[in-house]
Amino acid sequence: MASVPGYHGGYLRIDLTDRTSQRVVWPEGVLRRFIGGAGLGAWVLRHETAGEIDPLGDQAPLVFVFSPLVGSPLTTSAKFAVLSKSPLTGRINDSLSSSHFAIAGKRTGHDAIVIVGSAEGPTTVVVTPDGVRFESAESEWGLSSRETGERVKQRLNAAGEGFQVAAIGPAGERLVRYATISHDARHAGRGGLGAVMGSKRVKAIAVAGDRRVEFADPGRLLEISKDLSKRSLGPATAKYRELGTVDNLVTFNRLGSLPTRNFQAGVFEEAASLAPESLEADRDRTRASCAACTIGCEHIFPLADSDGGVRMEYENLFALGPLCGVSDPQSVLAASHRCDELGLDTISTGASIAFAMECAERGLVEIPGLRFGEGEALLRMIDDIGHRRDWGDMLADGTRAAAERIGGGSHAFAPHVKGLEIPGYEPRAMQAMALGFAVGTRGADHNRSGAYEVDFSPDVDRIDAGPETIEPVVRVEDEAVLMDSLILCKFLRGVFEDRVAGMAELLKPVTGWDVTSEELIETAGRIVTAKKVYNIAQGWTPSEDTLPPRFFEETLVEGESAGARLDRDQLSAQVEAYNLLRGWTAEGYVTDERLAELGLA
């Protein structure tokens, strides 16, 4: 295939079992039809997966994908996607992370790196343009991903090659099913990618190189990059720059949509104690940003009795705070820090512990000290999960598996969709988001479906969402999948007057493609469908596209969303309408005709 600007033209396939690697050239048309990041990763995962697989088995591929924009001067473009079959959900999983690993990874001369097989012992995989080598990671095994990254970089960069490292922590080594892969404390967090890497005994992957891609129109690219950077400093991103996402907590509480005590309520009476000003205590927070980013959304809050700090986002704040009934700021900050060190997804960790707290309060399990509001118990359980000790061993498999073992009707309040724990949007109070959760190919997820935007709009009544919800839910999912494929940070959303047209304008000078909004919408539908087809091949059934019984059977009783609950028939009708709008059958299967239309046959 002729070289396409913005790309290197192929991916690197590494087999750990026989310690070999090979270059795989992209088939004609694949790049334009899947772009990069999560989209191209979905193609690779499908291409590299034969039949129904064990996500922690040797044959399971772990896919790191860069994107055409990486290496360009476009703000927020230093991102990469990691994909696998999730050991938590048994379905497709794609998580994104950011910064220098993306740039260094692409400079290896590959558009993606696929790892299959498993190593005999703890291993660091080192990738450069000269090839692949495998180094022992015995001395890093047991360390946090942060410590591992520092050590590996120090060792490899002695020769000044500029290596960047993605690594797993102890949770990944122990196959915790929601373990993360981390680079520079930024996590590809959801769905257990760290467990997949741990199952292959890969502690770290280090990348460096000097291979740069050509861009189709460098002059125009520089021009639009300057304009985008300027717009990224406007009012649409002020919230992220000045306050960070932690500020959502107070707003969501006011709206009665803050998940509290394992989704038993939408209001947390002690929310003010977790407001940003309370988290800062007696020392100011600091700010940081990813490589090649002008926004700088990361707000790092000081830890008590330490010189260090912890990056806080709304999701770790809600999950380790209100969801567990914990209002002590230092307990929540410490909990988030421990999750970072162990390499745990904070949403699934908080939700698993909150679920266990409710089970304990209902008398279904006896776990000493574990009750809502108990910060010390929260911290102990995080350690137990990360090391798979005692009850933590069971919770390390997620809430769906834990409910199966605990029984007693606990499945009704295990907060997951397809096994992925629900993020910080109360579905009864944000019913467009409920639909987004239900149909999400990786489970309950706020990054792949941005349907909370629909709830936060004049278009729908957020606690009584009707048929008018469907089209905008599809639209924001399309926009999200395109941003995840280019890849651009979603915090840029607000700077585009027309997001899809804006993304088309960015792709043109990078790739040289005369791409239109219409083509990108079709591309989005193709990528979403490719993920769906992957899931069907891995055993998906229509019964998965729903929410736990709690949300249909229990009404919110406090706050501004009091009286809200989901209607099972209404959600089912919405899921059917969503499926039909996607061009699938009403049940959600994909016909041969639709596959052919999208070039997926």
Binding site: G234, P235, A236, T237, A238, K239, Y240, E242, L243, T245, D247, N248, V250, T251, R254, L255, G256, E313, Y314, E315, F318, P423, G424, H446, G450, Y452, E453, D455, F456, S457, P458, D461, R462, I463, K490, F491, R493, G494, E560
Partner: protein, 97 residues
């Protein structure tokens, strides 16, 4: 005009709007039964210059901001009618987390 009373419209500030306003809420349009959202915002801006400068363009919300009536329905339409006793929440339009 400030401080909460049973009359008037209470404007609550969240996120950047709170930072620009320098307070959490204000009561405006006391003595009127019904008024336009735009007039409520103008009344708030008249007392809070920081809010006026960055969040409002006349009686309209600037890009990046959104209003919500009584914590239920979102709107940016300045012609929406607001009743005495209502709460107008002024917040960031982007709820991403």
């Amino acid at each position: 005009m400030s401080g909460e009373t049973a009359n008037g419209v209470t404007v609550e500030f969240f996120g950047i709007a709170r930072r620009r306003a320098g307070r959490t809420r204000i009561v405006v349009c006391e003595g009127t039964e019904s008024t336009r959202l735009g007039d409520v915002l103008l009344a708030a801006a008249a007392e809070l210059p920081g809010l006026s400068r960055e969040c409002l363009d006349g009686s309209r919300l600037r890009e990046g901001y959104l209003a919500n009536i009584n914590a239920r329905r979102f709107t940016s339409d300045p012609d929406v009618l607001v009743q005495a006793g209502d709460h107008v929440l002024l917040l960031s339009a982007d709820a991403g987390g």
